[in-house]
């Protein structure tokens, strides 16, 4: 359910801002939104399709349409006109940044929801560490995983993966849960998208190039996959089947008119063809998947399904429990309720916790955690069909570094304490926060 107030005002004005930003980039740089490539250029692109990363186009004049922190400002300013936002403190004053009273789960409800992460249930990410003999849990868990795959049981796979997926089985398990099977028609569809990339040049292509160069290419884990990222994201922009997800997304795809035919509906088209304008960090949704899938059309299908099921909720405004607004509120509420001293201290020094954790949640922690930990986290996103675990992990990270955070005296110092998450082990953090903290 999307609240009318969120849908009509904030998402609408946010979208208008994005459109204006893209339009001004077009006029400033005198570049069209889209154009057909001349034949020579098409041939050239086809030849270097597998090594687009070697290209070094001049992207200095392009800037990302928006970054997560711009989006955060929009969320902070969300107001319900029917809500009492008086000056006097009341029992429900929101001390965090989000001022929309959505219903979020508390720890008892989270413990029930994430019951398989409990202390008495085996987990990959905890019970497969080198000190634990594999006969206690790991061997049996792998055996069950193989059986689930043999039966091709998607529902069982989703239940199974709540305890984590063995590395060897992960690619197949995710494909089973997401209902991806590479039929010849899927490979053909991907080839058709590739043809569309060759034929038409889009402005968003430059935005994608810039994003990959700025983020994934600079990342120690992901730079090797640079070429794959172009092959996926450029095709993704041309995929009109993605438009289908706008039926349950409060956002609307941007529109344009074929040159010169402004206002005539028969010349109206969506731009980009998939309706999704990438923002700074967008390519990080794809990068971790490159560890699992090496065949471009399968990698593409997996990413597309992950996007229309989960990732789109992280950058559009809605009241859905897995939407970014609810995740932000869940994070702030958990921190305020279970770490009140830390929350109060950070507020006092001008370091609202959400300002630090927002970028982690928007990217589903991609690029912040070590890849094996990230994949264990995304196992649980698939298993529970919910993004709420991102908010819980964010709160757990703050809880873990609480002692250091209590000693900082500025936002910059707090950011420094939480700058490096690459050594964190995700599952123990989650387990301790949910099941082993005295509340």
């Amino acid at each position: 359910m999307t609240l009318t107030v969120l849908k009509s005002t904030s998402q609408g004005s946010w979208e208008k801002r994005i459109l204006k930003s893209l339009n001004s980039m077009c006029t400033e740089l005198s570049i069209p939104l889209a154009r057909k490539r001349p034949v020579g250029e098409q041939k050239e692109l086809l030849n270097k399709w597998n090594e687009m990363g070697t290209d070094e186009p001049d992207l200095s004049l392009f800037r990302p349409v928006y970054a997560p922190k711009d989006f955060l400002e929009v969320l902070i300013n969300l107001r319900n006109p029917n809500y009492e936002n008086g000056d006097s403190l009341s029992f429900r004053t929101h001390l965090g940044l989000i001022q929309v009273p959505l219903k979020v789960k508390d720890i008892p409800e989270l413990k029930e929801f994430f019951v398989e992460l409990g202390l008495t249930t085996g987990q990959l990410g905890i019970d497969d560490s080198t000190q634990v003999p594999p006969e206690l849990f790991e061997n049996e868990h792998v055996r069950i995983g193989q059986k689930v795959l043999a039966e091709q049981d998607s529902a069982a796979a989703q239940q199974y993966i709540r305890q984590g997926s063995p590395t060897a089985l992960r690619a197949e398990l995710w494909a089973l849960i997401l209902n991806i099977s590479s039929q010849p028609e899927d490979i053909l569809y991907y080839e058709q998208l590739k043809t569309n990339v060759i034929q038409h040049d889009l402005l968003v292509d430059s935005l994608i190039y810039k994003d990959v160069k700025l983020t994934a290419s600079n990342d120690d884990y992901y730079f090797v996959f640079e070429d794959y990222l172009y092959q996926v994201l450029l095709c993704f922009s041309r995929d009109t089947s993605v438009l289908g997800h706008f039926a349950y997304n409060s956002a609307s795809p941007p529109k344009s008119y074929i040159r010169g035919k402004l206002g005539l509906e028969e010349y109206a088209v969506f731009y980009p063809p998939n309706g999704v304008i990438p923002f700074h960090g967008f390519s990080m949704y794809v990068a971790p998947l490159c560890f699992l899938y090496h065949e471009p059309s399968k990698l593409y299908q997996i990413f597309r399904e992950m996007y229309v099921r989960f990732f789109f909720r992280l950058h559009s405004i809605s009241s859905h429990p897995s939407g970014i607004v609810s995740l932000c509120l869940l994070f702030e509420t958990l921190l305020q309720t279970y770490l009140p001293q830390l929350f109060y201290h950070l507020r006092e020094i001008g370091a609202q916790p959400l300002r630090i954790s927002f970028k982690w949640m928007v990217r589903a922690f991609s690029g912040y955690l070590a890849t094996d930990q990230l994949l264990l986290l995304w196992d649980r996103i698939l298993g529970y069909n919910s993004l709420e675990i991102l908010a819980v992990l964010a709160a757990a990270v703050f809880a873990f570094r609480a002692v250091n955070l209590m000693e900082v005296t500025s936002l910059a110092a707090a950011e420094a304490v939480l700058a490096d998450l690459s050594t964190l082990k995700v599952m123990p953090l989650l387990q301790i926060f949910l099941f082993a903290t005295v509340t």
Binding site: C26, P32, N82, S90, Y257, V269
Partner: protein, 211 residues
């Protein structure tokens, strides 16, 4: 079964409050909406859009028997529209309530009174919108089945084979197999769209549209 909208007159909301409305600090937590009908109507369904109402009670004034005067009876008591009155869940949903959910018989309704409650002080106002009452539409005309469908005759003996023609049951099974094959081919037809995004091969765009 079709439903027919019942014409009704929805009066304005009346707030129930102790003391003077202008001087007291708090906002009213109880509102009453009266709905009158020009003629006595059998009630089937009530539909509305909620706007931050937490609990709904409905009282109905009707004749319980033909010769007694009409009385007020509660037909819905504290129906929960918002599981948590302090948060947004359920605050703007469309709600349908049917006669089988009511505590009393709703055959001859003269007047309805909706009692809205919102105990949370967080909301500036609350009400229900787009109120519509429905009564049962006329039943679809009953169909009488042809005799041979409702009373099938027992299996007849097949007629004796005419010389020179193939066995009809063998022919029919072969035809059935061919039909099954064509159905299989038809069913495996892919529904994947080609996904063209251009108009007649042209996708030259200058600027995005704001409308």
């Amino acid at each position: 079964m079709s439903r027919v909208s019942v014409p009704c007159h929805v009066k304005g909301t009346v707030a129930l409050q102790v003391g003077d409305v202008r001087t007291s600090q708090g906002r009213p937590g109880v509102l009453v909406i009266d709905v009158t009908f020009p003629s006595v109507a059998p009630f089937e369904e009530i539909m509305f859009k909620n706007y931050y109402t937490a609990f709904l009670s409905i009282r109905v004034r009707q004749h319980t028997s033909p010769h007694t005067p009409a009385k007020w009876v509660t037909c819905l008591r504290d129906y929960c529209l918002m599981p948590d009155p302090h948060s947004e869940e359920g605050a703007q949903e469309y709600v349908s309530l049917f006669k089988h959910q009511m505590l009393c018989d709703m055959a001859r309704v003269l007047e309805l009174r909706l009692i809205l409650r919102q105990p949370s002080p967080l909301w500036l106002s609350f009400t229900v919108e787009e109120l519509q009452i429905y009564q049962q539409g006329s039943k679809s005309p009953s169909m009488t089945f042809p005799k041979w469908l409702s009373h099938p005759v027992p299996c007849e003996q097949p007629a004796p084979l005419i010389e020179g023609l193939p066995d009809p049951s063998r022919v029919s099974s072969e035809v059935q197999q061919m039909w099954a094959l064509t159905e299989m081919i038809r069913a495996s037809h892919t529904s994947t769209r080609i996904g063209r995004f251009d108009v007649d091969g042209c996708y030259d765009l200058n600027l995005l549209s704001y409308t």
